[in-house]
């Protein structure tokens, strides 16, 4: 016998859709909102349904947007010569928070993964390449796909496709994390850091 009414059971189940949330945490969340903060619960429900209704993807960069063009693509103060390609909107957000980049983006919403059936079409590459070819504003494409096998394969695939467009293509460097000690670094990262070492000037 379940001690909760059907609607509460359903709410608990729904919280379990979230990553990292099991039945215990889901129950705690549901009871927290229902029992102690119904007003907050209402706000949560409203903002979720509004967002689901309004948000779709930017036509240019595939970032989340309520309009045809997202906030970033409509910002004309950015450097239009730079285009950064990322796997997900979370990666875009991380790049933005780094504060070191002021160009535009393209969100792949995934990475090339032959075994899983994700190909160039699913990543919007046809759209991207025809944009780059027709507009000719971008001078440098920065490949910021993850440093995983699939991210790396995606980067190689893109470089190859862009060769013909005469663009400068760069890739984020792999290296020693800030504040870390070599002794504890994994061998792979250390090898990459050595490969990508740069001239150190006084």
């Amino acid at each position: 016998m379940n001690i909760f009414p059907a609607s509460v059971q359903q709410l608990i189940k729904s919280f379990m859709y979230l990553p990292g949330i099991g039945p215990k945490s889901a129950e705690r969340m549901a009871l927290y909102l229902l029992g102690r903060y119904p007003a907050k619960g209402k706000t949560l429900a409203d903002s979720l349904s509004t967002a689901l209704e309004k948000v779709s993807y930017c036509l240019r960069c595939r970032h989340f947007s309520e309009k045809e063009l997202c906030v970033i693509c409509s910002d004309s103060t950015r450097d239009e010569r730079l285009l950064c390609i990322v796997e997900t909107a979370s990666d875009l957000s991380a790049m933005e928070q780094s504060g070191g980049y002021n160009g535009y983006y393209f969100v792949l919403m995934g990475r090339l993964s032959p075994i899983d059936g994700v190909g160039p079409e699913e990543l919007g590459l046809t759209v991207l390449l025809s944009q780059l070819a027709s507009e000719k504003r971008v001078h440098e494409v920065i490949l910021a796909t993850n440093s995983t096998i699939e991210g790396e394969a995606t980067a190689y695939f893109l470089v190859d496709q862009m060769k013909t467009l005469g663009l400068k293509v760069s890739r984020l460097a792999n290296g020693v994390p800030l504040g870390s000690e070599l002794e504890y670094m994994d061998k792979g990262t250390l090898t990459c850091a050595l490969d990508q070492r740069h001239i150190f000037e006084s």
Partner: protein
Amino acid sequence: MDTLAWILHVRPFKDQCLLIDLLTQSSGKITGVAYRKKKSNAALLQPFNQLYIHWQGEKYLKTLKKIEIMMPFFLKKQYLLAGLYLNELLVKVLSHTDAMPEIWTHYEQLMHHLSNQLSFNAHLRLFEKKLLAILGYALPLTHEAKSNTPIQPNAHYYFTANEGFYRINHATETKKIIPGWLLLQYHEDNITLNIEPILKYINQTAMMPLLGYKPLNSSLFFSNKTLFIE
């Protein structure tokens, strides 16, 4: 069980876990589960790494208890794409069966090859040929299908999967024409650059029944490239 293993493919599984296809030295292909959250696992659990693993479980899905890296392989450019092709092939054609020491050895050789950025097309074709033989689909390169007549160097043949090579008697036949000398040369494992594209055609046709008549995705993805697949 302790064994050496190559990672073939990794995908997210439930919230906290990764589902990993491995080629192991002791037990052929296995599928195991590992925790994703452990930070040390992120760099280890990538395709092309050779690992030392300890796993538990009798059934289809094993639990990976201990994972240590033996040898990281860094594949780049077309060598990386070739590696992905190889892994997709193994994930799709191998069932969870016993150890296949030959496959293990050849895979290891190919990995060395790819990480050293050596030309690999001929080696890929030989790997496919060995794989076909091990899986019971050996190419009958010395004798004709049905009639069992020896292949003649100067005659021409066409290939049908599951059956073999048939002699072409009329010039009008539309099938891909394969000269007899090429088959005999392939039988000797002697792969030269000029015959490699035809061998690719033969291997791919022969593998179709094993792949459920669906070409590998990696060959579709890279098909517009000149790198390694037509």
